[in-house]
């Protein structure tokens, strides 16, 4: 199929879609008239029944826990796939890298960037841990906190040489984080089964409202997801950096 036929097909499809959208818009209730029962039910139940104050985290790790388990493994498998695709293959040991001109050195990070990076790394990691720990209380949780923690690793790369980054963020540790994080979630589910509850049923004591340990199984799953997301995103970062920067090292 050449470009013209493809564009013509797109134009025809888009026209039909625009028509369907127009019909759908005409029948929509105006924005802000949400009438779905589940959201209101969840909002009414999370505080009295789960002792957590962030309804979104309660939905993710408790009420819809089984779905989030699946989503976590989509993430796990995508990261594995990326690592697998970018692994060093036997037939490409002497391949050419063209990420910079041959007659020029790669510029070292500027002093401003080094200073900013060094100042930001510790607060970023601390902020990430804070976001993870307060997942069931205020906006945040394992997914968001894990990404913030992984951006700490990116800062380490930005301020230094790739060698330092490798030393500061060892691949074995990242692999372990990802694997343990991915394992925690199903382990909690199986533990609740073994204890006589349903899979992922929140059977632990709910703790005091507003405390970091409140919410029963939610903080445990939350921490596992944080490990998994942080390990996964950092691993993606490592495999991409190794793909482009191997030559710089050699």
């Amino acid at each position: 199929m050449n470009r013209k036929t493809r564009l013509a097909l797109f134009a025809a499809g888009a026209a039909v879609l625009a028509g369907v959208f127009a019909i759908a818009f005409a029948g929509l209730p105006p924005l802000g008239n949400y009438r779905g029962p589940y959201g209101q039910m969840v909002n009414a139940l999370v505080v009295p029944e789960r002792n957590v104050t962030d309804a979104v985290t309660a939905v993710n790790f408790d009420i819809r826990g089984f779905d989030t388990l699946g989503e976590e493994f989509i993430l796990f498998i995508s990261v594995m796939g990326a690592a697998l695709l970018l692994r060093r293959q036997s037939d490409e040991s002497d391949r050419e890298h063209a990420d910079h001109a041959d007659d020029r050195e790669v510029a070292a990070p500027s002093d401003a960037m080094r200073a900013a990076g060094m100042l930001l790394t510790a607060p970023t990691l601390l902020f990430g841990i804070y976001i993870v720990l307060h997942g069931q209380l205020t906006p945040g949780g394992g997914f968001q906190g894990g990404v913030i923690l992984a951006s700490g690793a990116l800062l380490v790369y930005l301020v230094g040489e790739f060698g330092n980054f490798r030393a500061a963020v060892p691949r074995a540790v990242v692999h372990a984080m990802e694997a343990i994080g991915a394992g925690v979630y199903p382990a909690v589910g199986l533990a609740t089964l073994a204890a006589g509850g349903a899979f992922l049923q929140n059977i632990l004591p709910l703790g005091a409202r507003g405390s970091i340990l409140s919410g029963g199984t939610i903080p445990i799953i939350n921490a596992g997801v944080a490990l998994e997301v942080c390990g996964g995103i950092t691993l993606v970062l490592i495999v991409y950096l190794e793909e482009t920067l191997e030559q710089k090292e050699e």
Binding site: R3, N33, D54, R64, T138
Partner: protein, 114 residues
């Protein structure tokens, strides 16, 4: 104006699709896919919105305060994180394509196949 967010979602969907259809570069194609997918965030958050309601965080407000739907927000949350890694996976595929064929223009790749 009351359907404006849904219109934005539809527009993002179509713009992303147009980018995919007309792409001459696989990296551009993957980013177009990400743009297309971001329409789902707007749609989901738009569906869950209630006029005058607050965010579904009850740390400092009584639980009876009207709040927007937390279910769609939870969906968007996992959607975003999963999308990032899926984009990383597809970009890894693009790197492999470039290694094997020396081009990331979809039309050139089709010529190679024929």
């Amino acid at each position: 104006m009351s359907h404006f967010p849904y219109g934005v979602a539809a527009w993002l969907f179509l713009v992303g699709l147009y980018g995919i259809v007309t792409s001459r570069n696989l990296v551009h194609l993957v980013i177009s896919l990400a743009v297309l997918q971001s329409s789902t965030y707007i749609l989901l958050l738009g569906v869950g919105y209630r006029t005058g309601a607050v965010a579904p965080i009850f740390a400092t407000i009584p639980p009876s305060t009207p709040a927007v739907d937390p279910v769609v927000q939870a969906l968007v949350l996992t959607d975003i994180v999963v999308e990032v890694t899926v984009v990383a996976l597809i970009l890894a595929l693009v790197v492999q394509v470039h290694k094997r064929h020396g081009t990331i223009d979809p039309d050139e790749l089709r010529k190679l196949r024929d």
